[in-house]
């Protein structure tokens, strides 16, 4: 495999070298169990406390103990959702959006089979949250509202502060899956007024296999994993010290990038890519809300051709991206996000998501701008629908 042009950073990111370096001692010489009574293990307790503080600071949590370390954001999502309904048994209504990650969607579907009333709030053609529908269904019987901060496929940012405020007015709990927001835009749990938030380290140059559930103090909480005193009895299991250290290091670096203009640079490259493709290829359409979008993501639909074919040609140039097309996943329908946005069918099957990072270079963008128009042209020559264009 030649040079990799990695434009799939919403799927995962490269673990930063500083992160790896910070983690290594905790695999080898500092392998103690933080729960041990001896100094050798007990010192790692302080290491975790320090990491917890770094993460709390990163998302502007008021107290360090509001941070619970988990194995991934999917675990955080599941924990938050089941805790919210089990701690509020008298309420039988829960709300989420139609464009969530499966880690939120599937628990909601399961709870629906267990007798819960579930509302899935829709989006408009730009992927914007339908606030009117939300206000109409929210009521005193609502136990939980779980709405993602930013969408993984289109990058569209939802008005979390307003949704949280409305949720609290009806006395319900508010959880947000912020996996695609954290590290890309400033996330302030206090300003936004969220009760619970999920994040994952590997989306911002941390390691895979470590996540966080933020639970605001005073929130009624029941654990998902039982059988240990760790994390104040809220998440059983020996603390994953090296990964917790890696997560904290990644948070520290991400905080710096958000402050020093790096993400603006990423946005400029993203815009250059998007504008260049729109200019040089006919029948291309942007999916998402350009006015409220994370800085690294663009989702483009190439009319009359199919996404997997585009990706496989891009792969020849080392370009890594992803598609919401049916064929890439092995499912038979285009992505649920694009369908919720009612993207026309001639465009839904040909969507490509490019997600950049601070490591993306001008040269990377130029390769795509140079190669993609010819790929699209070639596939359209094979397609029986091109002449409809």
């Amino acid at each position: 495999m030649g040079k990799v042009i990695y434009l799939d950073n919403n799927a995962t990111t490269q673990c930063a070298p500083q992160v790896v370096e910070a983690m290594l001692p905790y695999f080898t010489e500092k392998y103690g169990n933080p729960s041990s009574i001896h100094t050798f293990g007990g010192e790692n307790r302080h290491v975790i406390d320090h990491a917890r503080h770094t993460v709390a600071d990163f998302i502007h949590a008021q107290y360090d103990d509001e941070i619970i370390f988990t194995s991934c954001a999917s675990e955080s999502d599941n924990t938050a959702i089941f805790s919210a309904v089990r701690a509020n048994r008298n309420k039988k209504h829960i709300i989420t959006s139609a464009v969530e990650h499966p880690a939120v969607m599937e628990p909601f579907r399961y709870l629906q089979t267990q007798g819960y009333r579930v509302d899935y709030i829709g989006v408009d053609e730009l992927g914007r949250f339908n606030m009117d529908q939300f206000k109409a269904v929210l009521d005193e019987d609502t136990a939980l509202v779980s709405i993602m901060w930013a969408n993984s496929e289109t990058g569209t940012i939802f008005p979390i502060e307003e949704i949280a405020k409305l949720t609290h007015e009806k006395g319900a709990l508010f959880h947000t899956d912020a996996v695609q927001a954290v590290g890309k835009i400033s996330v302030d749990v206090q300003a936004a007024g969220v009760d619970m938030l999920s994040l994952s380290a590997h989306k911002f140059h941390g390691p895979k296999g470590i996540g966080v559930l933020y639970v605001k103090r005073g929130t009624r909480f029941l654990p998902y994993l039982m059988g240990g005193h760790q994390e104040k009895q809220r998440r059983a299991g020996t603390e994953n010290v090296p990964y917790i250290v890696g997560l904290a290091k990644a948070a520290e670096l991400a905080k710096k990038r958000l402050a020093d203009g790096t993400m603006e640079k990423v946005a400029r490259l993203r815009d250059q890519l998007e504008q260049g493709l729109l200019r040089n290829i006919p029948d291309v359409k942007v999916n998402g809300d350009p006015a409220h979008r994370v800085p690294n993501t663009t989702n483009l639909s190439f009319g009359y051709i199919e996404g997997e074919s585009i990706l496989m040609y891009l792969n020849d140039f080392g370009v890594c991206a992803s598609s919401g097309s049916a064929c890439t996943s092995g499912s038979l329908e285009p992505s649920h996000v694009l369908r919720a946005m009612k993207v026309p069918f001639q465009f839904a099957h040909g969507s490509i998501r490019f997600s950049l990072s601070d490591q993306t270079t001008q040269e990377d963008i130029e390769v795509v701008l140079k190669e993609l128009p010819a790929i699209v042209k070639r596939l359209r020559e094979i397609s029986p629908f091109s002449r409809m264009a």
Binding site: I305, E306, S309, G330, L332, H349, I382, S383, P384, F385
Partner: protein
């Protein structure tokens, strides 16, 4: 990432016979933009010998759809209409080495386009769109007829609903027709099997059947709810109509245990099996 064979990649990257034959003797179309894949096949036929002299395709779809179409044009060239009509989707997949199970419907699309093109030739060349028999549409999302499903089951020896979805796309979207697909599978594959025993009432069951029936209800309707609270239940014994159970996990020692036994477990067993059943803590 799909494990495509070299042959699939070759035909995807270097598709043979792309385009449309002007004044074709047969034109077959299948699929649409909505479905996510579509194929238009045109053929030129020597009217004297019925031999297909040329074939061209245009395809909207993924790598395996393009490869299936491309190899199909190579397969039909030089064959008589009668021989070409015998090509099955399995022949197309075999010619490509293989296709991932989830992509077999691409080879079915090739077979259907060929069927339509042959029909078009026989009717004098007017383009034919491959159509499922409207009155027997099983999968409304992808417009798949009972006939197409039966054909896929017979040709490819399919045994599960998932297989049928991979080959025909039926059941791949909303999933509402999965029950009906299972019935078709049972009908096609079950011809030689023993007929199902007529369902007995609880009272007619043997002791072993009764225990199995109770265990089934506990597993399907009771444990999922108890599991939500971190608890579960075990079947300990059956004395006449008295079901003895043991609550476990968070349910054991729970203050509401008696309520769980009587108002929930007993009620479910009565509803599902017999009004005479009572439940007791073992």
């Amino acid at each position: 990432m799909w494990d495509y064979t070299d042959k699939v990649m070759d035909h995807f990257k270097n598709p043979r016979n792309v385009g449309t034959i002007p004044n074709a003797d047969g034109t077959g179309q299948v699929g649409s933009l909505v479905c996510g894949d579509a194929l238009r096949l045109t053929i030129k036929v020597d009217k004297q010998t019925d031999v297909i002299e040329d074939a061209k395709f245009e395809t909207f779809g993924c790598a395996s759809a393009i490869a299936s179409s491309s190899i199909l044009t190579e397969m039909v060239k030089g064959k008589t209409i009668a021989d070409a009509s015998k090509i099955t989707n399995q022949d197309i997949a075999n010619a490509l080495g293989s296709l991932p199970a989830e992509k077999m419907h691409c080879s079915v699309m090739g077979m259907e386009a060929l069927e339509a093109a042959v029909q078009s030739y026989r009717q004098g060349g007017k383009p034919v769109v491959f159509e499922q028999e409207q009155e027997k549409i099983v999968c409304k999302c992808f417009n798949v007829s009972e006939e197409a499903i039966i054909k896929a089951i017979r040709t490819n020896h399919l045994t599960t609903v998932e297989d049928v979805t991979h080959f025909t796309k039926a059941g791949g979207a909303c999933g509402q027709c999965k029950g009906e697909i299972q019935k078709i599978l049972d009908k096609v594959n079950g011809a030689n099997q023993q007929p199902q025993a007529v369902a007995k009432t609880y009272e007619q069951m043997t002791l072993v059947e009764k225990i199995k029936a109770i265990e089934k209800v506990l597993e399907e309707d009771v444990r999922p709810k108890l599991n939500l609270d971190g608890g579960s239940v075990e079947l300990v014994d059956l004395n006449g109509t008295t079901v003895q159970v043991r609550l476990t996990g968070m349910c054991s020692g729970c203050a509401g245990a008696q309520g769980t036994l009587k108002n929930f477990i007993e009620k479910v067993l009565q509803d599902r099996l017999s009004k005479n059943l009572t439940v007791e803590q073992a």
